[in-house]
């Protein structure tokens, strides 16, 4: 009982880390050589990632400061072009877990959006501007920019496909 409440008290995002640390602890006793190799590899990866995390923090703060969901909604107008533009920019600029945006998308679909625009918004959530520096570190600026543009174009394509496939579906 006490054990159960102790586990419940640990935030869920820490559970995974605790399990992995436990695996490392077992490895330490079972195969010390592999433990050292894996630990060194961890340090090497962290050295690559950590400096860019500082930049991610700054960019996250800037995007949180400039774009609140209420602000984004206030720019929504009736024209089709503006709706697509909103779906693309809104998706790119929105932050937080994707499921946080499902209720807002359902609401928008009742009022202004069709299925294609909802899909376009959700697809553009894959574009993470604050994480762009990390991608540049790993794959180069040229690749990161190309992927960004191809993703945006594909989001429109997906929106149009979804509109075709969802014809006749009751909301």
């Amino acid at each position: 009982m006490a054990k159960k409440s102790f586990l419940k008290a640990i935030p869920s995002q820490w559970n995974f880390l605790i399990i992995v640390i436990a695996i490392y602890a077992v490895l330490y006793f079972v195969d010390y050589h592999s433990f050292i190799l894996a630990f060194r590899k961890t340090i090497a990866i962290l050295k690559e990632v950590l400096p860019t995390l500082a930049l991610v923090f700054v960019l996250l703060a800037v995007s949180n400061y400039l774009f609140s969901s209420k602000k984004i909604l206030s720019y929504l107008k009736d024209s089709l072009f503006t709706k697509w533009l909103f779906a693309i920019l809104g998706g790119i600029l929105s932050s937080g877990p994707v499921y946080m945006w499902y209720p807002m998308m359902a609401d928008l679909r009742r009022k202004f959006f069709d299925d294609g625009l909802v899909a376009c918004f959700l697809y553009n959530r894959s574009v993470k501007l604050p994480l762009l520096p990390v991608m540049v570190v790993y794959f180069g600026a040229k690749y990161a920019i190309i992927l960004l543009f191809v993703t945006i174009i594909t989001s429109i394509l997906q929106g149009l496909i979804i509109n075709k496939l969802m014809i006749g579906e009751k909301k």
Binding site: Y99, L131, V134, F139, K142, T151, Q158
Partner: protein, 156 residues
């Protein structure tokens, strides 16, 4: 009088901006803090997998470059969830181990555009058919994006 009103208005605006900035910093700190344990655990796990599972074992599947390699990368990317940084790290390590840029791109794009884990929530709020059609088309488009990106990357 009007000068005084202006200066108090400016002060209020400054206070509001300061509060908003502090709020943004707090929000990003919370967001990053909540990702850190997952990020650290993933890095530890990746290092462990790359140490214990020799590249000879998985590389042939992903390196094959054909349908099986790309499909496996897409499937794995679709099933896994979490911060996109993690997918960049994994894909970066895969490339270092000889996996093609096309397959690494399929993995990254599937990771961020297909959400198998979120399908129940999406279906509940936006409809079963919508969730299914959206995720299936996103999965198929993953290969289009990867092919186009690699093609343009080589071309430019």
């Amino acid at each position: 009088m009007s000068k005084m009103q202006n200066s108090s208005g400016e002060g209020r605006l400054k206070d509001l901006l300061k509060k908003s900035l502090l709020n943004s910093l707090k929000k990003s700190a919370i967001s990053l803090y909540s990702t850190l344990p997952l990020l650290l655990a993933t890095v530890l796990l990746i290092a462990l997998v790359f140490t214990l599972v020799p590249p000879d074992l998985y590389s042939p599947i992903l390196e094959s470059g054909g349908f099986v390699g790309a499909f496996s990368a897409g499937l794995i990317g679709s099933l896994l969830a979490g911060s996109p940084i993690i997918s960049y790290i994994v894909a970066g390590e895969l490339i270092k181990n000889g996996v093609s840029l096309f397959i690494a791109t399929v993995f990254i794009v599937a990771w961020v555009t297909v959400g198998v884990v979120q399908i129940p929530a999406e279906a509940m709020i936006l409809g079963k058919r919508f969730a299914l059609v959206r995720n299936v088309t996103a999965f198929l488009l993953t290969f289009v994006i990867a092919a186009l990106t690699v093609f343009l990357n080589n071309l430019i």
